[in-house]
Symmetry: C2
Subunit: 258 residues, 2 copies
């Protein structure tokens, strides 16, 4: 089938109507046949949650009447969306899965909390080449125009080369004008973390509750990290694996008295 | 402070009243001063979800009147519980965080969906030695007696040795009698995955919905894997890292035309 276009699955964690995913759909329509299966509401911070004790709704919707793509709005998490797409909705395994473009960073340790990246990882476990895209701008009105060329270029390369086995890509974009972006760096995840700061309040009934907030702390000064790249005007691309084994630590633990 | 006991934080994803966490509390009270901060309801499959757009309740509760430990019941996810414990509830950083004992397996790829393991990983990001424990029995009436000795031994070793930097432990127990368990194997995560099988139904109003189910498929025949250990009567201990960088793939991606 020499003329068959690539089949591209699109999802996100900000919900199917978020500007970030609409930009991603626009760009991917230039590269292949697009199918969208995305959450019907924001799912930020959902990590790799899946719906195991509840039902899932997944309905075809028309968001853009001129659109070429089919779109499905799902009551579940980003990982649920990928599972439903692969097993129920798509007639064949997609050639590429793209997730995002997330409104906000998923660099460094944020990858473990990210619904955007969990969708990409879920597709990776199904051996689908897969990329999560995020822009360092939490605003609902974030400007995705400057990054469209990079999204297209990276997706084209993934379609051409496939993905190393057991690997998906975590792509983050600095919040800059197109002409200010210096290029792309392939990086490692910076060794950074959050220091939480809970805001304790009392509700009208007198019961205490908390809002989670926090400060992101990066003590990793390596110039090969995603944080360095983003702070220096580059797009960061981190290859992410879902074999979480710390192979180097097996010998240490074998020295324990077990 | 030579006589100060270790401070041990306990959480889980099955909820604060689940038999698995009650067993863990019983064992840890033999090793140190215990504080429990756990979800007020089951959170299975929550992965590394955190509560970012909603409030959190966290109230001191008395579940066992004879108990030595303080206990807090939290409206959030397992990862939320650890963040709240470390930042709001505990007066000092705990010497150990243990999560579980989960009712059901968290071996192999299940680690990425596991609320139990996400709590352990969250503690690891705070540089707290941390272990997630799971028993291969989903039943609410699972028998945790046979594994108590192993839980204690592994926790004691973690208190004595600390943990390799950036590493937490994923411990799974086979569903066997105590005398049938052959010992402990330190393993890598098996390269296995789920093939989903959605059960499509129609609700009384005529709208379609789905139940997620699936089949776990392990084609990894390695005798150094957690799946091999568990199927052969051993307790599996996998060192898990939260630097997800696929370092070996950086060179591959650098060969792309980016």
């Amino acid at each position: 089938m020499p003329n068959e276009k690539p089949l591209i699955l699109i999802t996100n964690d900000d919900g199917i109507t978020a500007p970030g995913i609409r930009t991603l759909i626009e760009v991917m329509n230039e590269l292949g046949d697009v199918c969208v299966v995305a959450p019907n509401s924001p799912q930020s911070g959902m990590g790799h949650a899946i719906t195991v004790n509840d039902t899932l709704y997944c309905d075809e919707v028309v968001i853009d009447k001129e659109a070429k793509q089919k779109e499905y709005s799902c009551s579940g998490t980003p990982a649920d969306c990928v599972k439903l797409a692969v097993n129920e909705i798509l007639k064949r395994k997609p050639d590429l899965c793209v997730s995002g473009i997330n409104h906000g960073s998923n660099s460094s340790i944020n990858v473990i909390y990210s619904g955007t990246m969990s969708a990409a990882v879920e597709a990776g476990t199904h051996e689908i080449p897969s990329i999560g895209f995020s822009l360092l701008d939490y605003s609902l009105n974030a400007d995705f125009e400057p990054v469209k060329g990079y999204v297209k270029a990276i997706a084209q390369q993934a379609l051409q080369h496939g993905m190393p086995k057991g690997v998906v890509l975590n792509v983050n974009f600095p919040k800059l004008k197109e002409e200010e972006i210096k290029g792309i760096k392939v990086c490692r995840q910076a060794n950074a973390h959050w220091i939480e700061n809970f805001d304790k309040r009392t509700n009208p009934l007198g019961r205490d509750y908390y809002w989670l907030s926090g400060e992101f702390v990066n003590k990793d000064k390596g110039e090969d990290t995603d944080e360095w790249a983003l702070h220096n005007g580059y797009v960061s691309v981190v290859p992410v694996q879902f074999d979480l084994t710390a192979h180097h630590a097996i010998k240490d633990i074998n020295n324990w008295d077990l």
